[in-house]
């Protein structure tokens, strides 16, 4: 390549990386057909115990209290709806919340895993986010790993007597960031770099998705905080019904 051509390529690379923020931030979902078959199977198998636990816990809930089944269905629909809606964002891009941090704080991890996999199937078929072969990997990052971190942080924060707003914000934002790191790790393990292996590849994927995901995590944290504050102000009976207020 001549010097001019090189300059053109560098310029377009810088431009595209700088403006990545304006592309769709549905980039969190690994798309259909992107992972090799062995990885699809492995991630699916890893999710299995969580899903089995979730199915049992929901079955128990449904037997004890039939109304709770409908409540869970509404919660699933709510998570899907907020994950499909556009939220305000700094770069003017199309960003979506994941809603999994909120679900984990409100319903606990096992129920979130089952709701999460259903919502991911819906997203694949109704919104073309994610896919069927990558369902296992996406379920692990978005419905298990992220919620586990959010829930754990929220619990720890309450033990430490952090201010409630800060606690919810941190739990949701860090859970979101963790989801994004796990997704990058999953991509890197499937496609390690030639010189540098998995570690170098992780850095590459993290770097490519960072412009969209970092601001998004902050916004997700803020919104989750506002939703919980709003519900505590206006919807105490409902919060009690799902067992969120009992423990406080």
């Amino acid at each position: 390549m001549s010097k001019q051509e090189k300059q053109a390529v560098v310029l377009s690379a810088v431009l595209s990386l700088a403006l990545c923020g304006a592309t769709s931030a549905s980039a969190m979902h690994i798309m259909e057909g992107y992972l090799p078959p062995s990885f699809c199977v492995i991630w699916g198998v890893i999710c299995l115990p969580f899903l089995v636990a979730g199915v049992f816990s929901i079955r128990r809930i449904a037997k004890e209290q039939r109304k709770a089944m409908l409540l869970l269905a509404m919660a699933g629909a709510f998570v899907f709806v907020i994950s499909s809606l556009k939220i305000p964002s700094v770069t003017g891009s199309c960003s979506h919340m994941t809603g999994t941090g909120l679900a984990a704080i409100l319903f606990g991890v096992p129920a979130t895993a089952v709701l999460g996999i259903i919502v991911l199937v819906f997203q694949a078929i109704l919104l073309a986010h994610g896919g069927l072969t990558t369902l296992g990997a996406n379920t692990f990052s978005m419905a298990i790993a992220g919620p586990l971190v959010s829930w754990g942080l929220y619990r720890a924060g309450r033990k430490l007597n952090l201010p409630k707003k800060l606690n919810v914000f941190l739990a949701a934002a860090i859970g979101d960031l963790f989801t994004y790191c796990v997704t990058s790790l999953q991509l890197a393990m499937a496609y390690p770099s030639d010189n540098g292996g998995v570690a170098a590849s992780v850095v590459e994927f993290l770097g490519v998705f960072a412009p969209t995901q970092l601001p998004l995590a902050v916004i997700e944290g803020l919104l989750t905080m506002l939703v919980i504050m709003g519900m505590e102000a206006y919807a105490m009976p409902e919060l009690r019904a799902i067992g969120y207020m009992k423990e406080v």
Partner: protein
């Protein structure tokens, strides 16, 4: 716009070195132009894919056949070792969806632009690599090392992108011809735990309720200048979501009372329309599957 520039750039990195530079540049302009013309995806209260599926001419075909065959084709695509099989399959399925199913080409491409963003961003990470020495088709000095595109990375990226395109077109063929309740009834017959399928059917029905409630809340907030300025729109969005969750819980209470008064005993049964397997459908899917397997056998041998 940015997706188009990105697409052009990724296509250029994919082909540079194997094709003459002029051809690579032409290809990248072509792809960028197509995306520029069609690539936008709409947001809104309406689930467009659901609407298209009900409008499709394949809607009358047996959902079990469509689901099973699309999933099989999907697996074949992902397992394929050469980029050509998934690419050809993607083309055939796109043609079938657009010409046979009656989806507008414009709508189909707009839907494709959604995964395209992911494909392109991660394509960058697959193609460009940081190396201490400059070897490969393209190399740019960067941070006392080089950003390079190697031939091996190009081959790998081509395979991954072809597989992903093929898989997405399989998924679109299914989702643009079969509605969610039908897919769920297939899953129920495939012995997925009934708790999950029941939950999924309920979720599907509540989606539309929640979306319309959200739409009216958003309009109410917007008409009171709730979305003027960034800080205020974050605040409004937060309180709208909180209110939506509270409303949805109240709705579910009302639903439960209605179901209870109609003898709800913990199990939900739905009426389904019979859709038998027809000869053209069986022939088409049989041909596609056989063709794909044959191509992969020949390619592998």
């Amino acid at each position: 716009m940015i997706v188009a520039v990105l697409a052009g750039f990724v296509m250029f990195s994919l082909c540079v070195g194997t094709l003459p530079t002029a051809a690579a540049a032409a290809l990248c302009v072509l792809v960028g132009g197509i995306l520029l013309a069609f690539g936008h995806h709409s947001h809104g209260g309406v689930l467009v894919i659901d609407v298209y599926a009900r409008r499709s001419r394949y809607f009358a075909w047996s959902p079990a056949l469509k689901t099973a065959c699309c999933v099989l084709l999907l697996l074949l695509c992902v397992a394929s070792a050469s980029p050509w099989v998934p690419l050809v399959l993607a083309l055939i399925l796109a043609l079938l969806t657009v010409c046979g199913g009656g989806i507008h080409l414009h709508d189909y491409l707009a839907l494709l632009s959604l995964p395209a963003a992911f494909l392109l961003l991660s394509g960058l990470a697959l193609l460009w690599d940081y190396a201490p020495a400059a070897d490969g088709a393209v190399a740019i000095p960067f941070w006392n090392g080089w950003l390079v595109v190697t031939a091996a990375a190009q081959v790998r990226a081509r395979l991954v992108m072809a597989r992903a395109l093929g898989a997405v077109s399989c998924l679109y063929f299914l989702s643009l011809s079969t509605t969610m309740p039908e897919i769920l009834s297939v899953l129920r017959r495939a012995h997925v735990p009934s708790v999950m399928t029941e939950l999924a059917v309920l979720i599907y029905r509540y989606l539309f309720v929640l979306l319309s409630v959200y739409q009216s809340m958003k309009d109410a907030a917007a008409s009171r200048l709730g979305y003027s300025g960034f800080a205020r729109s974050i605040r409004t969005t937060g309180s709208v979501y909180g209110n939506l969750l509270a409303t949805s819980f109240r709705r579910s209470g009302a639903c439960f009372d209605a179901m209870e008064s109609r003898c709800y005993d913990g199990e939900i049964r739905f009426l389904e329309r019979e859709k038998p397997v027809t000869l053209p459908a069986a022939l088409l899917f049989g041909g596609l599957l056989a063709g794909t397997v044959a191509c992969m056998m020949i390619g592998g041998a």
